[in-house]
């Protein structure tokens, strides 16, 4: 049993990174995620585990430091908030194209542009559909509590290394800034040079050994035939993720006639909406996607066979609703309710939207 603490979501990301044997963090400050690097600098893990913590000159520099370190088989992460992630988009595409593992944490704020420092979920498209150029996908984990901020650091790295693909924790200012109880993980030692060699020697550029060919990390392939093969390999990997890595939570869905679909902090709001609706006699349930890519299409399609409608609740103008519509198909109404610009919907507001858009409509 790990240590019980009361911590902010952002602080927990830092603590979890140290404890899971991370080799390095490269970042640049931005509200509302600055506590990640502040906590790391305060903890001075370079004295404890040897983990490197470096404030780069920009987000662009940070993500390329991650790119370089990941290429050598190291376990590295960066964190930022929406505008900073936009700056990183090119590097993220290169890391995905070069098939390297790393963890990127986005503590979302409202956009577009500089927008606001208040929480938002308007980076759903950016995280799950691209952001950078080319046909790539990130493994996207959406924590809804401070505990999950802790748990998804290790899970994110596990999946990133399993698939040699960047993983993202898509959080927001609310979960980053709030404090909750958290059970911290026990320490995992950092891998030694020999262990990295043994585990990742087939691809990592950590110094060529006499008995093997040089490893080359690149996303460049000038021959279109070979480039298509590279793309097919990526797509096969993404298909495997969709088969094997989908995570979701169902809350009171068993007898539900209507379903809310929400992730992250809006799913917390919706849990309360479910209670309010049930007090009013509305049989409401909540499906919470935990992986946004791969998206839980199958459980949503299964629910679509027996419920009267879906309301997708997001802190954006309607992004995940498109994936829910694709999973549901025709026949059952799928509506959207969202607040934007840093506003978090209230639980009763969600129930009113449900009554207005689905039950009464």
């Amino acid at each position: 049993m790990g240590e019980l603490r009361l911590m902010k979501g952002n602080e927990v990301i830092a603590e979890a990174a140290i404890r899971c044997g991370c080799d390095g963090y490269f970042g640049y400050p931005i509200t509302p995620q600055s506590e990640v690097m502040e906590t790391l600098m305060d903890r001075e893990p370079w004295n404890e585990t040897g983990m490197v913590v470096l404030q780069a000159e920009s987000e662009i520099a940070s993500i390329h430091m991650v790119y370089g370190a990941a290429a050598s088989g190291k376990k590295v992460l960066t964190s930022s908030s929406s505008p900073g992630i936009s700056l990183m988009a090119e590097g993220i595409s290169y890391i995905a194209g070069s098939e390297l593992p790393c963890l990127i944490v986005n503590v979302q704020r409202g956009g577009p542009g500089l927008g606001t420092i208040q929480p938002s979920q308007a980076d759903y498209f950016q995280s799950t559909k691209g952001g950078g150029h080319g046909d790539y996908r990130l493994i996207v984990l959406a924590p809804s509590s401070v505990q999950e901020m802790n748990d998804f650091v290790e899970l994110g790295f596990k999946l990133a290394f399993k698939y040699r693909n960047p993983a993202m924790i898509l959080s927001d200012g609310a979960i980053g800034q709030m404090m909750e109880k958290v059970v911290l993980a026990d320490y995992i030692p950092r891998l030694t040079t020999e262990e990295i060699d043994e585990k990742y020697g087939s691809w990592a550029t950590n110094g060529r050994k006499p008995n093997r060919k040089p490893n080359i990390i690149t996303s460049l392939e000038m021959d279109s035939g070979r480039m298509e093969v590279n793309n097919q390999r990526l797509q096969a990997k993404y298909a495997k993720m969709e088969e094997e890595e989908v995570l979701f939570e169902e809350i009171q869905c068993d007898d539900a006639e209507y379903i809310l679909v929400a992730f992250g902090s809006s799913s917390r709001v919706c849990q309360k909406s479910v209670d309010i609706a049930r007090e009013k006699g509305i049989k409401l349930g909540l499906l919470r996607p935990i992986t946004l890519f791969p998206f839980p299409k199958k459980p949503i399609a299964a629910l679509a066979k027996r419920v009267k409608g879906f309301l997708v609740v997001e802190m954006n103008a309607g992004q995940m609703v498109e994936d829910v519509q694709l999973a549901v198909g025709c026949g059952v109404p799928v509506k959207h309710f969202g607040r934007m610009g840093g506003i978090i919907p209230s639980p009763s507001e969600v129930v009113e939207a449900l009554e207005h858009k689905l039950i009464g409509g």
Binding site: L6, A174, S273, P347, E349
Partner: protein, 183 residues
């Protein structure tokens, strides 16, 4: 038991740390807790507020628009949060700086002269602990020993010598709560 509280006042009054100590007290009493602050430019000399939820069960929404208890420490917060107290709920306020006292007739209203008492105690910084004590009189959601443990946990060791003074302030607040209106 679930208690949903808003603490609201000026930045610098110790609103966030009062919430933090209350949250830690809940942790010490083995409750589930959520502490959700307002953050950003509004904290620089403007209003600051924090939502604290203590519960025996898994906490759903950290963001709520009605509260079991509102602890209100300036006029702006009174204007904003008085309407958001649940009917039958509790409103506690420090009259210092309040021009328009609460008008609701369907809630329990208490007064705590936190600013005066903290000054009498000789340290105005204990203001938030006086108010915390008053709150615990109105709503005994955590025991005093949990508050003591909460203070130990939330203050760095170099500040532990301040704990007795803070506990005295909590006690004084506990004894000084005045009932204005009961429903």
């Amino acid at each position: 038991m679930t208690e949903e509280i808003i603490i609201a006042g000026f930045g610098g009054q110790g609103v966030l740390s009062m919430g933090k100590i209350l949250a830690y007290s809940g942790v010490m009493a083995d409750q589930e807790v959520t502490w959700f602050p307002s953050y950003g430019p509004e904290m620089r000399g403007g209003t600051a507020n924090v939502t604290v939820i203590l519960s025996d069960n898994r906490i759903s929404s950290p963001i709520i628009n009605e509260f079991d208890t509102a602890i209100i420490l300036n006029q702006q917060s009174m204007d904003k949060f008085e309407p958001m107290v649940k009917p039958g709920g509790v409103l506690i306020y420090d009259p210092n700086g309040i021009i328009h006292p609460p008008k609701r007739t369907d809630i329990n209203i208490y007064k705590i002269e936190g600013t005066l008492i903290a000054a009498e105690l000789g340290n105005v910084k204990t203001f938030n602990m006086v108010v915390l004590g008053a709150y615990l009189k109105a709503k005994p959601v955590v025991k005093m020993e949990s508050v003591e443990k909460g203070l130990e946990k939330s203050l760095p060791a170099r500040h532990h010598y301040l704990i007795p003074m803070n506990l005295e302030a909590v006690q004084k607040g506990y004894e000084s709560l005045e009932l204005v209106q009961a429903v």
